[in-house]
Symmetry: C2
Subunit: 454 residues, 2 copies
Amino acid sequence: MKPRIIIVGGTAAGPSAAAKAKRINPNAEVVLYEAGEHISTGICEVPYLVGGVVPDADELIHFTPSMFEKKKGVMVRTYHLVEEVQPSRKSLVIRDLSKGRTFTERYDKLVLCTGSKSRRLEIPGEDGRNVFRVKSIEEGKAIGKYLSEFAPRRGVIVGGGYIGMEMAEALVRRGLHVTIVHGDERPMEGLERAARDAVREELKRNGVEFRGRSEVRSFTADSSGTVTSVNTSRGMVETDLVILSLGVYPNTTLAKGARIRVGTFDGIVTDERQLTSVDSVYAAGDCCETKNVVHNRSMYLPLATYASRQGRVAGANAAGRKEVFKGAIRAMAVKVFELELAQVGISEGEAVESGLHVEVEAIECDSRASGFPGNSRLHVVAIVERRSQRLLGANVFGRDGVVARANVLGFAIQQRLSLRELASLDLIYAPPFAPLWDPVLILGNKARRGLHDI
Amino acid sequence: MKPRIIIVGGTAAGPSAAAKAKRINPNAEVVLYEAGEHISTGICEVPYLVGGVVPDADELIHFTPSMFEKKKGVMVRTYHLVEEVQPSRKSLVIRDLSKGRTFTERYDKLVLCTGSKSRRLEIPGEDGRNVFRVKSIEEGKAIGKYLSEFAPRRGVIVGGGYIGMEMAEALVRRGLHVTIVHGDERPMEGLERAARDAVREELKRNGVEFRGRSEVRSFTADSSGTVTSVNTSRGMVETDLVILSLGVYPNTTLAKGARIRVGTFDGIVTDERQLTSVDSVYAAGDCCETKNVVHNRSMYLPLATYASRQGRVAGANAAGRKEVFKGAIRAMAVKVFELELAQVGISEGEAVESGLHVEVEAIECDSRASGFPGNSRLHVVAIVERRSQRLLGANVFGRDGVVARANVLGFAIQQRLSLRELASLDLIYAPPFAPLWDPVLILGNKARRGLHDI
C-alpha cells in the first residue's frame, strides 16, 4: 500500500513539506489540509498590500490549490479543519467546514504546520468592526476595503514591534495620522537601545506619534461597534481605525491534544529532523520553537524563512529521507519608512541571560564612498563575547546598505568568527557601492585595536 | 639612535605603511617620499571626478602633506624621487625635484610602495594633447579641463576593462558619443562570458559603440598634436578625445635596480609579512604581486583595498611588530551605467589553468521580493570544484543587490564552503530587501539537488 503522508496547515511550512515529501517519494499519497480558503500565501507582505506597494492581493498567493495539486502532485483539501490527532491509531479527526461533517483519516506520517495565532488583549471591543490584525491575506484585504470605504483619517496601532512599524508606514502612505501605543518606553524590544532610539526618531520624523509606556485599558465604541477611542494608561486617543499588532504565539491546540511536547515558549519541541516527541509526527514552522545556534537555546521566532526550511526538512524525513535543520542564528530586517534595520544573532540581553560575558562595540561610518549617490551614515552595534572576542550578535541600521552588512555579520556569527577575524575578510571596495574600508572591516579593525590595548 | 623607517610612494599603500609604523613605534623617525605633488589620494574615484559625480578633485585628497605630518607624525617629502636603493649600505639616492639636487639617506627599514604604471601602446601620437590616461588626480583634472574648454563631441576609449567601462559612463554623462576599441570580442576578459555579454549589452543600451577584436594601428593627428582619428585593424574612428585604459603593470624599476626578486607578473614578490627578498626591505601595494588564497597562486591585482592592507602590515613589521597579510581571494565590483557587476574568487579559466576540475552553475532570480520597488533580475555564475563542490569563484551581475550577494559568496569562498553549505546559511528575508530565498540560497539549493541527482 502507498504510504500516506498528511500535512496539516497550508501557509508556508505546510506547502514546503508537502511538495518536498511528494518529490522525494512520488509513490506516497500526500494530502495537505488547510482550514482556510488559501494555501501558500505570503503574509509577510500584508502590510505592503495595505500600503499599496503590492497592488493586488493575488500576488501574495503563490499557488492556488488546484495549481499546487497539478504542479506538485499533492492533494489539497481547503476548508478542512483537523480537530484531533490520535497517535495511538495514527489517525486524524477532520471537519469538512464547507459540508459541516466530520470524518477520520489514517496517516503513516504526519507533519503539523499549524502556524501561530495573534495575541489578544482580552478587552471588550477588540473585535470591533474597525479593529484589525495583520495575520492573513483576508485581513489585509479587509483593512484595504475599510480604508477605501470609510476613508479614516486617524489610526491607532497597538504594539510597537516589527509589524507595528510596517503598518505605521502603510497607514501613513494611505494618508492617515498614526499613533502607536506601546507598553515599553521604546519600540522593538528585541533590539539594542541605539537601534530602538533610531526607530523612534524615524517615526517622529514621519509624523507618527509614538506613545510609549502605555497599556490599553479599554476601547470606546459607538452603537455600530466601531471603536472611536483607545483608552490607555496614559490617556485617551481618538481614532477611526485600530490595528492590533501584539505579536503571535504558537498554535499548538492540536499538538497538545495529542500530548506532543511543547517547550519554554509553548511551541512544539522537535529534534533536528523536525520530529516531535510523538512517533511519526513531525512539525515545522510557526508552531515550533527553533534552536538558536549562537547560544544553543531554543527561541520562538516565527519567520517565513525558517518555516520554509523546516517544512522541507520535515517533508523530506516524512518521506523517508534523513535531513536536518540545525537551527538558526536569527536573521531579520525591517524597513521603517526610510530607516533600514537588521538584527542578526542574539541581543546583549539574551547573552547576559544565558550567562555569557559580553562587551558591546558600536561604530558609525559611511555606507558607500563619501560623496557618492546613496551614501549615508551606517550604524553597527555588535555584541561580542569578552574573552574569545567571538561575535554573538549585531544590530545594523541606517538608510543604505544595512541588510548587506548584516548578512555578512550573520555569516560571521554562523562561522563563529571573532571580531579580529572579521578584519581580514576580503570585501569589495568600489566607490559606487562601498567605502575603502567596508563597515564590517571598520568593526573588525576596532576589535583588533581593542585587543592590542589590553 | 632612533630607528629610521623610510617609505617610498605616497598614493595608498605608502601612507598606510607610514601611519602604521609611526603608531606602532612613536620613537621611530618615519619619512615618506613621494615624487609627485599629492599623497594619500583616491585614484579609484577619478572616473567619477571626470563624470561629475565627485564635484571637486580636493575630495579625492584624503590628507595634504602637512595634515598628514601633523596628524600622523610622519615626515612627508613630496617632489622627491627615490632613484636608487643600495641595500648593502642601507641607503637611498634621492632627487629633490624642486631643487634639482641629489642626496643620499640611510634607512633601517625600507618600505617600497612604488605603485603601478599605465601600459602604453608604443605608437606615435599616444601622448597627443587630447590623449589621456586615468592614473592620477592630475590626469583626471586635465581631462575635466579639456572637456570644459574644448567641448569634444566624440570620445574613443582604448581598452575595455574596468576603467574603460567607468570612463565610458563618465564621458556619456558629459555628453560625448563614445566608442570603445578593444582587442577581444567582448569587454572585461577576467569575467565569465555571460557577465561580459551583459556588459556589452549595457554599453549598447546606453549608446556606447563597442568595437571588439580591434587593435589600434595608428593615430592621425593635426598640426597642433591633437588626435583626430584612431585607426584600428577594423577601420578608422574619428574622434575629439582619446582615453587610454590599457591596464597597468607594477612599477618595479627601483626594486629591480636593487635586485629585489620579482615574480610571474613582474611584480615584487613578498612573504606574508610583506618582506621582499632583500633584508630590511618591505613592499606593499600595486608594485607587488598578491597571493590568491583560492588556488594558492600569485596574482597581480592592483586594488586599493589590498594596497591599504599590505601597507599597514608592511608598516607594522618595519616598526618591529609581526603582522601578516595572508592573501586575498579577489573581490571587486564595477558599475557600468545601471549594471552592477562583481567578481569574487577565481575565474573558470584560472581554475582550469591551475589544474582544478570545475563545473559552472548559473542562476537567475529576483533581487528582492517580486513586485517590490527596486526588485530586478539578478544573475550568478558560480565556479565550483567538481568533487568537493567547493565554491571557487563567482560573477554576480544585475541592477540591484549585486555587491551584497557577491560579498556573501566571497565570504563563503574564504571559508572554503561548498555549495551545499551555502544552502544552510541563515540570510535575511524581508520583502523590501530580499526574496524569501535569497539568491545565495537559490544557488546553494541548486547544488544540493545536483548532488542528489548523481
